[in-house]
Amino acid sequence: MANHTTVDYKKERGNYYKVLFGLLALTALTFIQPSMFLTHYTFGMQMLIGTLKAWIILMYYMHLKGEVLIGWTVVFAVFLVLFFFVIVMIDVNNFQFADVSHITSPAQ
């Protein structure tokens, strides 16, 4: 079974350029944010902009829009990473060898 999906190149190309300009605008926002707005929250803002860019790439460049099974597979994988992220963060916040670990208390 071949992939017989035919595409209207000119129409699809327009969509690709729209996504490009959206991503370029968000990239510009990445550069101006630390000195222009919410400067107390640079790290959080940068990650927020990054997440927005990632969502656009996933939906439009990686064609996840309308893909139910693959979409949920991605959600599951991201959930798994975030789950372990939270578990590890809770664990390291209660690290019992913090006073003697080279990483947490390096010799000056």
């Binding site: 209207d8 640079t42 991605v74």
Partner: protein, 232 residues
């Protein structure tokens, strides 16, 4: 049976009543090919996810050192690479569109354009690392080793260790991507990837988008965290 053309020859299975059935071959299973490649990409997400987890842990421990180290990176070169990668994602996507619409020559041209942009990315990265080396910031140099007079603060050593590891691994993925694109061109030239059978092209475009996606987080984490007067 060995054959050189890409013509799909279906396997026939015969049931107990003697009826013949066409076995679905993987070569034509477009959705299966796509799903399988997504599963592979999710393992990549988990690998880089673990690295981001380590990075975040270190960041919480050595907040000030991380911000200072981040401010020492060259945001101009990092920004140029961000735009280069962004445009390369476009050329890769347009190449796939051209292939699916039957314009094989145009598709090949777009793949070459993507490879050129990938090489530019690596060149800029090499320039950046060379500048870092000249400034004494590189793996193995005294500045990034603790216990000597040139040692940077411990948090900065961790930051730069993660920076070279993660951008190096990302760069390795770029090199792999160039190799995959060369292989794709070879398959197109031999008629094994066509407008009707483009799953390989589709998956390599997906791979390139993943490489772009990883950079979308690598760049702000390393380069932008230390930007601006006040940092959060």
């Amino acid at each position: 049976m060995a054959h050189d053309s890409h013509e799909y020859i279906p396997e026939i299975a015969v049931d107990r009543n003697g009826n013949e059935h066409v076995v679905q071959g993987w070569q034509g299973d477009n959705y299966g090919g796509k799903l399988g490649f997504w599963l592979f990409m999710l393992t990549e997400v988990m690998m880089f996810g673990a690295m981001f987890m380590v990075l975040t842990y270190y960041f919480t421990l050595h907040h000030a050192d991380f911000i200072k180290a981040s401010s020492e990176l060259d945001r101009t070169l990092g920004g140029i690479n961000t735009v280069v990668l962004l445009i390369s994602a476009l050329t890769m996507g347009l190449g796939l569109l051209k292939m699916r619409s039957g314009d094989v020559k145009g598709a090949k041209l777009m793949i070459w354009a993507t490879m050129l942009l990938a090489v530019i990315f690596l060149g800029v990265k090499a320039l950046e690392w060379t500048n870092d080396y000249k400034e004494g910031i590189f793996l193995g140099l005294q500045g990034l080793q603790s216990g000597n007079e040139f040692s940077k603060p411990f948090g900065e050593i961790l930051f730069f260790g993660m920076y070279f590891t993660m951008t190096g691994l990302h760069g390795f993925h770029i090199i792999i991507g160039i190799g995959l694109m060369l292989w794709l061109l070879k398959r197109i030239n031999s008629g094994k990837v066509t407008p009707e059978h483009n799953i390989l092209h589709f998956n390599i475009a997906l791979y390139w988008d993943l490489v772009h996606l990883i950079w979308v987080f690598v760049f702000p984490y390393f380069y932008m965290t230390g930007a601006g007067a006040i940092h959060g």
